[in-house]
Symmetry: C2
Subunit: 373 residues, 2 copies
């Protein structure tokens, strides 16, 4: 073997320099250091390139050679070095997810859905920010870029996040989840307006004259879209459009909304922006002697795990976070492969889950129309 300019008998490799590393390193085996491709090649009696071919299952490798190599790999407990591989292939199989650091159910489940979808094929690096302002958003994008992620998914339910997104470099594969964004960006979101419409129309179909709404904070896009869907459904049915009662997603705000609504005798149906507020609302109504669903029907949004165990079990709008995650991942993979596009807006349709918290209004013999799902 001619000594290449790179390997002049490999002087510093003779156990000294690397033994130090090996001492603290993983899987010492019979060598004093983690095995590399050359070790496998030597043991199998082939060249390192053949090992590489086996590893990337290249077709042109004889079966018995392949097996010799695989044996050597097992024997040495060899594992390819991700950094070396990434250096030459320019692929890291890693994507970053930027989320909001909040104990709310929706955002947490979106992260979960994305992570589950990515499990096979990508590593998911997460960053939860206390606030989705421009500064921390761009800092995080930068951090991720420094780590060579191939793309970024940002869970951006707040209006501030959308604003921040317009400042990221256009050539970065980025998908926004949970909000509809402006043109060049692709977004995936649950169709909140549709879900709110379904809930509202369902209540109307039970015979209620109108439906009141307890909304989430206006800084959240989901909250706004649900208000829009609710209002559109009322309008479409020619029903009276009551004022929105403002909440902040918390059970307390639902409770307070409930105290307010309980005083109004004509309230027979309430659509809540999320399940937690519905919980508080039901509490308040019950305290004021208004039974759910006999006197007042309540529908929530989210379908948290406890919703079925509320008293009464809560009829609510279920969001398919698994599907959301899959769509987001699919869009990101497409974007990585195909390069910048014009940006599409994907929607995941939610479903109404019927339980026991909604019924025809008091005095109504039977529903005016059959329930629509």
């Amino acid at each position: 073997m001619a000594s290449s300019p790179r390997n002049p008998v490999r002087p510093s490799q003779g156990g000294q320099a690397r033994a130090k590393v090996g001492a603290g390193g993983r899987r010492a085996g019979t060598l004093g250091r983690p095995p590399v491709m050359a070790d496998v090649a030597q043991l199998a009696g082939v060249s390192h390139q053949t090992v590489s071919r086996v590893l990337n299952d290249h077709p042109n490798v004889r079966q018995d050679t392949r097996e010799k190599v695989l044996d050597a790999i097992r024997q040495l407990a060899y594992r390819p070095n991700a950094a070396a591989r990434a250096l030459v292939t320019r692929r890291t199989h890693t994507l970053g997810v930027i989320g909001i650091d909040s104990p709310l159910y929706g955002p947490a489940m979106m992260l979960n859905g994305i992570e589950r979808a990515a499990q096979h094929g990508y590593f998911v690096v997460i960053a939860s920010l206390p606030a989705l302002d421009r500064r921390s958003m761009l800092d995080t994008v930068d951090r991720f870029l420094g780590h060579s992620v191939e793309g970024i998914i940002v869970i951006a339910p707040q209006t501030s996040a959308v604003a921040a997104l317009s400042h990221v470099p256009a050539d970065l594969p980025l998908i926004a989840v949970g909000c509809e964004t402006r043109a060049p960006l692709t977004s995936v979101a649950v169709d909140n307006a549709d879900g709110a419409g379904r809930a509202t129309r369902y209540l109307l179909s039970l015979g209620h004259e109108t439906v009141h709404h307890v909304a989430g904070p206006a800084s959240w896009l989901d909250a706004r879209e649900r208000v829009g869907g609710w209002r559109a459904a009322l309008h479409g049915a020619g029903a009276r459009e009551p004022d929105v009662v403002a909440g902040d997603w918390s059970a307390r705000s639902g409770y307070e909304a409930g105290q307010e609504l309980a005083r109004m005798d004509d309230v027979t149906a309430v659509f809540c922006g999320n399940d937690t507020m519905a919980l508080g609302l039901v509490r308040a109504l019950t305290e004021h002697g208004r039974r759910v669903p006999d006197d007042v029907s309540v529908v929530g949004f989210d379908d948290v795990p406890e919703a079925g165990y509320f008293l009464p079990p809560l009829t609510t709008v279920r969001q398919d976070f698994g599907e959301l995650g899959r769509q987001a991942l699919g869009a990101l993979v497409d974007r990585i492969a195909a390069g910048p596009g014009m940006g599409t807006h994907l929607k995941v349709t939610p479903e109404l889950t019927l339980r026991a918290s909604a019924a025809p209004p008091p005095g109504a013999a039977r529903p005016r129309r059959g329930p629509r799902t």
Copy 2:
């Protein structure tokens, strides 16, 4: 400049081969490809090594040289290549977190706490497993190792997880969170027994004769430890030790437990394994005409965000997940730096949060002793 064996005028680099990459690549700038250290060096009129020194703020660099280099970096929007760096330094600044794919509050917050603690200094790759069995656990460890994580934190609240942990290679820096493990492993956990003890002693101090307990599933270590702490506190006070009522963390199981306990007249105090079960329990008690806290006192565990808005606001044991994350990260960093040790078991002490769901038993004029925190 003499043409080194490595850069013989760099033939394949003259715009063709790499221009292709540049077209789809990031930050084209004036070059047709992402800038590398050599580009910065050339623009700044120094060697690549000097650029490297500036980047790693090595002391022996003249101030004006440093500034020239930094200018060039800014001008080219240069960003060091993480893979190349990792290849030579053998450090990825990445750690893996294995968690359980469940909507439960505790595990979710542990992940959150770890991620927050790591934010500065480490990238966090996550994997949520549907079940913490040996197979999927080892697969995930392997996946992470293939990605060259420097260490792994596993959120292991279930007994099955602990069993699986004994099969990971001993030289892998690994910290278990949420469970106490066998000797060679280091673990960090909330002191569940202590928390349960505090809750129980508090109820006893209010004058209750004994305290009943609704426990989580026995497959969860937290559940077992809380049972242990509760029982020890009763024993220490010489109080009667009632049977455990079995639950499964869900509100429904709490509700069912409540129906059972409501029938027993001598029940005046209940310590619940978590807040969600407490919610169901209170519901059931109320339905059976037993007021909380006037007739029955209830204390939960977790301090979920809604706990303060329950009716009545729930007295509960708060776990400091931020501290837990910090401790876990600290332990992991120590372990990475110092190599295998004998394994320590760190405990984070929980705190009793007093609200309104616990009071002296009916008929008692005043507490026997002042409350202990």
